[in-house]
């Protein structure tokens, strides 16, 4: 720690940061544009000018850019200095020479960093009397609006998009003051993180397109802390809502998880909550026809069903712990299913078991960024856990640090660090069946079937620690590759192994665990990350239950009277025959869901559930971090949380357990399930009070609260209330930058209305939240078993001339269940095709081929992808056949176009 003098005030500062950071951390209002806490400094905008003095006797001083000046002990600087102020006001005035005065119609208005900085510098008179330049805007696809005239040329967009996220299709064009930031031609931005441009751009050049259609000012929306439901990474989000609808999702900073960025699936996937097809009333089948009924009628019908025999519940990896636990309470643990078929179920259970038993760190995303060697073993994380893929990409920047240290360049000097790292070897080693977005920046890529990759993994572990079993019958090239990768990993200090469930291959997980164990024994500090598929896969694994196969057996044996399926579209899990067999062996089917699925249409009773945006609950991420989401919209009855429905159903038969709010159910769950004993600490409960008050969910400036429904009724509506959240439903309540990270409903402090105000909520910039980070890691205190090798080494992969192993091709857009129902995501989903590395005789690119999937013939166009290994075919899960989810052997038949 150093001490610096800011306008005479002694402030503590870290020596590894720059003066801008130090000033912001000291609470000073120093404006900036091009600097970003995650992107570092490049000194382009010149907005952060301060006066620096060489010593107490220096009265003249020198104007420096705070963001480009390292902190040293005893630095004397002035923000208030007249010259510095004049210069900063000048910078905004220069920016304004071309910036349109269109704030009233600009979606950024009210949360615009440029507005904040303009006010902060005091620039309020237009003196430039010449014309402004104008640009043509581009159609950038369904996510992003483009309004280039508002550009202030800070270069943040391209620095984020290209340097940080690896995007290629956004660039800076032109020169001098004729700059243009856009694509080569109109078209959707390709990078998976394009939506972050909305938050990265300090003004209204890139704005949220779906949001602009249901636009509301930031100050007119309610916010609630939430957790992304579209993969298992558990990115923290804020859901903004108004008038009972979700308007948008933005990033909520979590130091260890998503930090400043979300993937596009997470940002734009919320559209399913507003789908017109959403069930809004209980539907009961009468004479074979579903009709809307009251809650009471629905519950009466359920009571009648319950008399018909045992109730079995099928839970869901996309539902909260609380909802699953409530369902389990309805049926009893012995009749509660995880909703996963046997292989998926076993794999899900394997993951926490391996993470607990392996003496490697189970890393957070932020931890992963500092790995110095990364082995990705058989998982395309860029699509199964996109934000995790972005974290892995950051290891490249770290690879430049040694060169930067030699040249004594601080790590936040972004451009210099990247330049010095030009020749730094990439730490990424990517072994996957199909190409991934990380390939272009990887040191090694290798394509092979999952079994083959697992064998390589075993071989690598053996080469690191000879007591680990080796894979027999490796080819010469495989031996060389294993040797090379093993020595690369062993040479690292903080190696990271990443595997996952994408290809439902247990051997990959075992091999990954062996490598991690071997690396630990070899004295490195390894980390092991295992990627699960759904937002609550890990929660379900910790909760436990029966595999679906057991439910099927119970049904066949006539031991199910009523089957309650909660937030689980079984058509995505079971093929048509199996599902038909199951349903026809069950007298009564009850479905609780917030989306319309084939199952809600055939259910005897379909109950409308609340989506994540309308309920509170807990999800456990793939890292074992339990995180709470809180309702942004308080739903109108009869829509209610799945767990409330489960409770209602329970109470048709018995009075206990009786949970009336979320905290009660959490307490019961913590009591009942050892692995979840600490989930209560994921977030403060509903009784949390800040300065004796609830936390407000609406900004103090909300306008027209009583007028928004004036076209319907001029009477004030009572505000909806919820016992599940410590957030008040209105602008009444407390709000400070010290509030717990788990409760932050929006970011705003005096003078800072944009997301940049986040700086004020952190203990230090880029560090934990002042009020503590959200969530609680559940696997950390797990007992560490002695290292034990896994020996299930698969046989080499084999295939015939027409015989392929069909692997699920997960995609960023279109294969994840909920986001696929969101219109902007659906617009980006490409049609299904069959990708083949080698084309059997008679098949050419574009010809149609038929395969049998989930028991049914499916015809797909063939795409030749020479990057795929022989014998492997790829097809998106759930798109061609709903239930196709895991590798299967297929034979191809040519189909002649009709």
């Amino acid at each position: 720690m150093a001490t610096i003098l800011i306008d005479g005030r002694a402030c503590p500062a870290r020596t590894d940061e720059n003066l801008l950071q130090a000033c912001l951390e000291a609470g000073a209002d120093l404006p900036y544009f091009c600097w970003h806490p995650e992107l570092g400094s490049v000194g382009a905008c010149r907005q952060c000018a301060v006066k620096q003095f060489s010593g107490p006797d220096d009265k003249t001083g020198r104007i420096v850019m705070a963001c480009m000046t390292p902190v040293t002990d005893g630095t004397i600087l002035s923000i208030d200095d007249a010259q510095a102020r004049e210069f900063r006001a000048g910078v905004v005035e220069w920016l304004m020479t071309n910036h349109p005065h269109d704030c009233p119609v600009c979606p950024e208005g009210g949360e615009c960093h440029l507005q904040d900085m303009t006010v902060m510098t005091g620039h309020d008179r237009r003196r430039y009397r010449f014309t402004k330049r104008t640009h043509r805007n581009q159609d950038l696809g369904p996510f992003i609006n483009h309004e280039m005239n508002r550009c202030i040329g800070c270069y943040r967009c391209v620095r984020f998009y290209r340097d940080y996220a690896g995007g290629e299709d956004l660039a800076a064009f032109g020169a001098h003051n004729d700059l243009y930031f856009g694509r080569y031609e109109d078209g959707a931005l390709e990078n998976a993180f394009s939506g972050n441009l909305v938050e990265i751009c300090p003004t209204g050049v890139f704005t949220d397109k779906p949001f602009s259609r249901i636009y509301s000012r930031k100050w007119d929306m309610r916010g609630a802390p939430s957790v992304c439901a579209h993969c298992a990474v558990g990115c923290n989000t804020i859901v903004n809502a108004r008038q009972g609808t979700v308007r948008r999702v933005i990033n909520r900073y979590h130091d260890a998880v998503n930090r400043y960025f979300l993937c596009d699936r997470g940002r734009y996937g919320h559209g399913f909550t507003s789908a017109p097809t959403r069930p809004r009333a209980p539907m009961m089948r009468q004479d074979g026809i579903p009709v809307p009924v009251s809650i009471a009628t629905a519950l009466e019908r359920f009571a009648a069903m319950a008399a018909d025999g045992p109730i079995v519940g099928i839970g869901s990896t996309r539902a909260s712990l609380e909802s699953n636990f409530a369902l389990r309470a309805l049926t009893g643990a012995a009749r509660f299913s995880t909703g996963l078929t046997q292989p998926d179920h076993d794999l899900a259970m394997l993951v926490p078991a391996l993470l607990r038993a392996t003496q490697a760190r189970n890393p957070s995303l932020h931890d992963m960024e500092s790995a110095d060697a990364v082995l990705v073993l058989g998982e395309d994380v860029c699509v199964t856990a996109p934000r995790l893929g972005l974290a892995l990409r950051q290891t490249l920047r770290r690879a430049a640090y040694p060169a930067a240290d030699t040249a004594r360049v601080p790590h936040w000097m972004d451009a210099a660090v990247r330049m010095l790292g030009t020749d730094a070897p990439s730490p990424l080693l990517v072994l996957t069946p199909a190409p991934t977005d990380l390939d272009p920046v990887a040191a090694t890529t290798h394509r092979a079937a999952p079994d083959t990759l697992a064998r390589l993994g075993f071989a690598i572990a053996h080469r690191i620690d000879a007591s680990a079993p080796d894979a027999p019958d490796l080819s010469e090239t495989e031996i060389q590759l294993a040797d090379r990768l093993a020595s690369a990993l062993r040479a690292a200090r903080r190696p990271l192994i990443v595997a996952g469930l994408q290809y439902a291959n247990a051997a990959l997980l075992h091999a990954a665990a062996n490598i991690a164990t071997a690396l630990h024994a070899a004295g490195t500090d390894p980390a092991l990350s295992l990627v699960m598929p759904d937002c609550n896969s890990m929660g379900m694994a910790l909760l436990g239950g029966l595999p679906l196969d057991d439910v099927r057996a119970m049904a066949r044996a006539g031991r199910i009277g009523t089957l309650v399926v909660m937030e689980n579209d079984l058509t995505r899990r079971l093929d048509a025959t199996a599902l038909h067999d199951l349903l026809s062996a069950v007298p009564h089917l009850v479905v609780i869901d917030h989306i319309a699925t084939p199952l809600t249409h055939v259910a005897e009773l379909a109950l409308p559930a609340a989506s994540f945006a309308e309920s509170g609950g807990t999800l456990v991420s793939t890292e074992g971090r339990a995180q709470r989401f809180l309702p942004a919209v308080l739903p109108d009855m009869p829509v209610q949380e799945s767990w409330r429905w489960a409770q209602h159903l329970t109470h048709t038969m018995t009075d206990s357990p009786h949970w009336t709010d979320l905290d009660q159910i959490i307490a019961a769950m913590a009591q009942d399930i050892t692995a979840l004993s600490r989930v209560g600490s994921a977030a403060p409960g509903a009784d949390y009070r800040l300065d004796g008050r609830r936390v407000r969910s609406e900004p103090a400036r909300i306008s027209g609260r009583t007028a928004v429904r004036a076209n319907i009724s001029v009477r004030d509506r009572p505000l909806p209330q919820s016992p599940d959240t410590p957030l008040s439903p209105s602008m009444e309540g407390a709000y400070t930058p010290d509030m717990p990270g788990a409760l932050v409903p929006f970011y705003q402090v005096p003078g800072w209305n944009s997301v940049q105000s986040l700086n004020r909520f952190q203990q230090e910039i880029g560090g934990p939240m002042r009020g503590g980070d959200a969530g609680i890691r559940l696997l950390d205190d797990a007992p560490q078993a002695l290292p034990d090798w896994h020996y299930d080494i698969p046989a080499p992969f084999s295939f015939g001339p027409d015989d392929f192993l069909l692997l699920p091709e997960h995609r960023l857009f279109g294969t994840e269940e909920l986001s696929a129902l969101s219109p902007p995501i659906a617009a980006r989903a490409a049609p299904a095709a069959l990708r083949l590395g080698t084309l059997p005789a008679g098949l050419a690119d574009g010809t149609l081929a038929s395969i049998t999937l989930a028991g049914e013939p499916v015809t797909l166009p063939v795409r030749h992808d020479p990057a795929l290994p022989p014998g492997i075919a790829l097809c998106p899960p759930h798109l061609a056949a709903r239930a196709f989810n895991a590798p299967i052997r297929v034979r191809l038949r040519r189909v002649d176009a009709p």
Partner: protein
């Protein structure tokens, strides 16, 4: 009309690929590659930009960001001859504005434009390092100095005559 849509000749592609290989990173060849394309076709068309980008393993946006940055890469068609008339200070003092006005009148175009017959494009250019012979202009690859309105007009006439 122009050959802007025809693929790059194999020999040119090979030269670009060779150059990219000898550089520390292929992108280092971007300006040279664009220049080579331009020397052949007069300008860099969209089709040629795409082709060049793929030869260099760059995205079209990336390469176009470079093409549009530099003064000497033309992303719009130019005439068969390009007149670049210096507009920097020494030439300005020595009367380049008069020369420019006469050239404009003679050619019937303004700076940045091409004569309707496609013969001549007139462009301003920064100091050509020929200040001791100001005003100066570069006609294609040849430097001309000590211009006055008449010599400039004669040169322009010659270009149109020779071109038609």
């Amino acid at each position: 009309m122009s050959t802007a849509d025809t693929p790059l000749p194999a020999e040119l592609r090979a030269r670009i690929a060779d150059l990219a290989r000898t550089e520390h990173q292929p992108r280092a060849a971007s300006v040279s590659a664009l220049t080579m394309v331009q020397e052949r076709f007069g300008w860099v068309s969209d089709a040629h930009l795409l082709e060049t980008a793929s030869l260099l393993g760059m995205s079209p946006a990336d390469l176009d960001g470079i093409a549009t940055y530099f003064n000497l890469i033309f992303r719009r068609p130019v005439g068969r001859h390009v007149i670049m008339l210096c507009d920097s200070v020494s030439c300005w003092i020595m009367g380049r504005d008069t020369v420019c006005a006469r050239l404009q009148a003679r050619l019937g175009i303004r700076p940045g434009e091409t004569t309707p017959d496609g013969a001549v494009t007139l462009l301003p250019i920064v100091c050509l390092g020929h200040c001791d012979h100001a005003p100066a202009m570069l006609v294609d690859r040849t430097l001309h100095g000590d211009l006055d309105a008449e010599t400039a007009e004669r040169l322009a006439d010659g270009l149109r005559g020779a071109a038609s």
